[in-house]
Symmetry: C2
Subunit: 219 residues, 2 copies
């Protein structure tokens, strides 16, 4: 399930490569990005199906897993930018997923440029949300010298600030909230950072390699 | 320095991404493969130069490093195959490198479909050669169920056998020989495998993560 066409969402396909049967589910926008890059033909067409993901529909993945995709505010993939892109458009460039089984359901939203009222309503009361934790401050990449773009320009809402995810989730009554897609400039990665303490105090966890979560959550 | 256009040679470019100035040196054949894939535009053109690598010429990389590229028997990248490719052609699809500094020189040949007399003459007497150790036996991928193709079909000569690299290097008087690009089906990766003992007995080492080699070698 590809939630967008950016490098961090699609480059892993190249590690799967030959001879491994699988299905790639992605919106037509994202599948078109794959089609435009012959390098992905290393995934043999007779073994790797490319399945268009319909927004609002539900995909049954077997073993009782059902996935629903929905558009979230985002942007076109960086390498597909043609001039300054529209940020925050709810196109098929960026989607979130609701993954459900008999044991529960969770939301996976690794890229999100802003929490609209409709998205907030969708996530409210959820048992588990894995959410975009790319940057803590919008200008973090610039201040640390790691890049020239604000987080929002890259399609990511910040953790902090009045428009940040901490504030946006404060009243959503989500049982378990986990930041994912955390950039290496984001201080919440550091156990002893005050920013980590701030997100912990707000009820958030920070994903780590090897993290396992069982549903239902007993948080 | 890209020695070919296959996934394992080029996919790492996607991990470098934005904002990191560098130069990509590759033959026009390999640069054309990059050009054909917009995903590599994530490497900003104003920061990442793409420099055509001329076979037989020498590229000065600074700090006293000079690199010479030469064609070796190979094949077109898998994802560029159009029908059954010619194997062993000495085109610009696959190159080896000679890297030299004031302290010495070494050869880097991670993909090679066969050791021609000309290539053997070039490598003879070298201080250090890092060489294609993809498969031990030509039919190894098939026998282990890992794939459907012989090593040679993938552009790699085997380690063992009458046409293998062990035999081909036996009389080349290379001071230090190291297998690189070793596939996970190749038993030389296992410390206690008889195949590891065989290559060790023939004076070869097997590269490992974190390997450091200083020139001149005091092997």
């Amino acid at each position: 399930m590809l939630t967008n066409g950016d490098i961090d969402a699609i480059a892993g396909l190249l590690h799967l490569r030959e001879g491994q049967p699988l299905a790639i589910h992605a919106t037509r926008r994202v599948l078109a990005a794959l089609e435009a890059n012959p390098v992905f033909d290393v995934l043999a067409r007779d073994l790797v199906r490319r399945v268009p993901l319909e927004l609002g529909g539900t995909v049954e993945l077997g073993r009782g897993l059902a996935v629903e995709a929905f558009a979230v505010p985002g942007k076109v993939a960086l390498y597909l930018e043609d001039g300054v892109p529209e940020i925050g458009a709810e196109t098929e460039d960026t989607v979130g997923l609701r993954v459900a089984s008999a044991d529960g359901a969770f939301f996976f939203v690794p890229s999100c440029a802003g929490l609209t009222p409709a998205l907030a309503a969708r996530l409210a009361g959820a048992e588990l949300v894995l959410f975009d934790g790319t940057v803590y401050h919008d200008d973090e990449m610039i201040r640390t010298g790691a890049g020239s773009k604000p987080g929002r320009r890259m399609g990511h809402m910040s953790v902090a600030g009045p428009d940040g995810s901490l504030a946006a989730f404060a009243d959503l009554a989500v049982t378990r909230k986990v930041y994912v897609h955390v950039n290496n400039t984001n201080p919440i990665l550091l156990d002893d950072a005050p920013e980590r303490a701030a997100v912990t105090a707000a009820g958030w966890e920070v994903a780590r390699d090897g993290l396992e979560i069982a549903l239902p959550c007993s948080h």
